[in-house]
């Protein structure tokens, strides 16, 4: 049997540490013992696939899932899903979820005293196309307070969940907005030590996907782990 090619390790500092004490919830939940490195096996270089039917035609448009439009600033979020070599990741599922324009999630555990919007659920789903492109239409989520520390506020963000081609490429991340003054104070954003890596989580304002008289455009390209070219490469 020919040697299996695994996926590259992240560059130092480019991924968050499990234990990041300023993010208080990590203290009792991050493992204390070091992770154990394992040989490349089929289990990590294979992964699930999903039928197209799980994405309904309006799942990409979070502003058209109810009787009327949600309140808030209408935006389009577009981008490509690529591997680290710039190769498009085709037909891969993306799930997103977010707060409404007032900074409130449609969730029983969200106790923030801000109004729910009867026209906004905050969930979206799509597949990338043959070029790895995707597009969501939504409203800009509000910032909201949380209990991490005194006067803690999460910057505006959209949660992204991606599978990619293999178990090893699974990624859950958050997309932030350019120029958000709260980023500087956010322990979740700052759990990633490397500044250039943190910037990869911030979308850019994009004239090209901004539609006149309709919606602002933001571009968010997502990079999944690249594949090793040789079996021994780490």
């Amino acid at each position: 049997m020919k040697p299996l090619l695994g996926y590259r390790k992240p560059a130092p500092g480019s991924q968050p540490r499990h234990l990041s004490p300023p993010y208080v919830s990590s203290i009792k939940r991050a493992p204390k013992l070091p992770l154990i490195g394992i040989p490349v096996t089929l289990s990590e270089i294979s992964g699930p696939s999903f039928p197209k039917e799980i994405v309904s035609p309006n799942a990409f448009d979070l502003t058209r899932q109810h009787k009327a439009e949600p309140l808030g600033e209408r935006i389009a979020v577009t981008g490509r899903v690529l591997d680290e070599d710039g190769k498009p990741i085709r037909n891969t599922l993306i799930e997103i979820w977010q707060a409404n324009a007032a900074g409130r999630y449609l969730h029983k555990n969200d106790q923030h005293d801000a109004p729910l919007d009867p026209n906004f659920t905050g969930e979206g789903r799509t597949f990338t196309d043959e070029d790895g492109r995707y597009r969501f239409v939504t409203i800009r989520p509000g910032a909201y307070p949380w209990k991490n520390h005194f006067n803690a506020w999460r910057p505006q963000h959209i949660h992204f969940s991606l599978f990619g081609p293999a178990f090893a490429t699974r990624l859950v991340t958050q997309m932030y907005f350019p120029g958000d003054p709260l980023l500087e104070f956010d322990p979740i954003f700052h759990s990633v030590p490397d500044e250039a890596a943190r910037r990869r989580m911030i979308a850019s304002f994009d004239w090209l996907s901004t539609e006149p008289d309709l919606s602002l455009g933001f571009r968010f390209d997502i990079f999944l782990r690249g594949r090793n070219a040789t079996p021994m490469e780490r």
């Binding site: 499990h18 013992l33 089929l42 289990s43």
Partner: protein, 187 residues
Amino acid sequence: MPGHSTPSQTVGPFFSIGMDKLNRANIAEGSSGERMHIHGRILDGDGQPVPDAVLEIWQADAEGRYHHPEHSGTTDATPFFGFGRVPTGESGCFSFSTIKPGPVPGPDGKPNAPHLEISIFMRGLLQRLITRLYFPDEPLNAADAVLLAVPESRRATLIARKAQPQENSLEWDVCLQGKDETVFFDC
């Protein structure tokens, strides 16, 4: 650029809004094989149950084949096959049912012991945790390349226990910290 993937961030407390639609507690539905019912709890560093986590499972079929093009001999990926997603409930409990996978060819040509690949996500975890569930009384466990990479004293955290009273019922707890901290992998 090599090594420059987008950073991971936590799923946070409200992931069910976006992730519930893919929940699947009956894995490999309609497929032949030995049916197993697996349940357990996730516990934090204080031994407190974690009620806001979600587990994802990835596994081979009863013949030890992954339904994925990477596994030679498998021509087509079968949508959903081998994928599960289950959230924990109020008491930190989760459960799912599946078939016991067959042995998959291992890195050294020797078969891997049957196992489930598992990702765990929750508020407080900035990256998913990766672990494996192995089966009790499985002779192949003794030669499994991944189990052998784990110090012997910690291997038991990866092997489910037979649970009463149901036949084919297994129990597997995940301890995030403490003396029985589950083994988590870097892959």
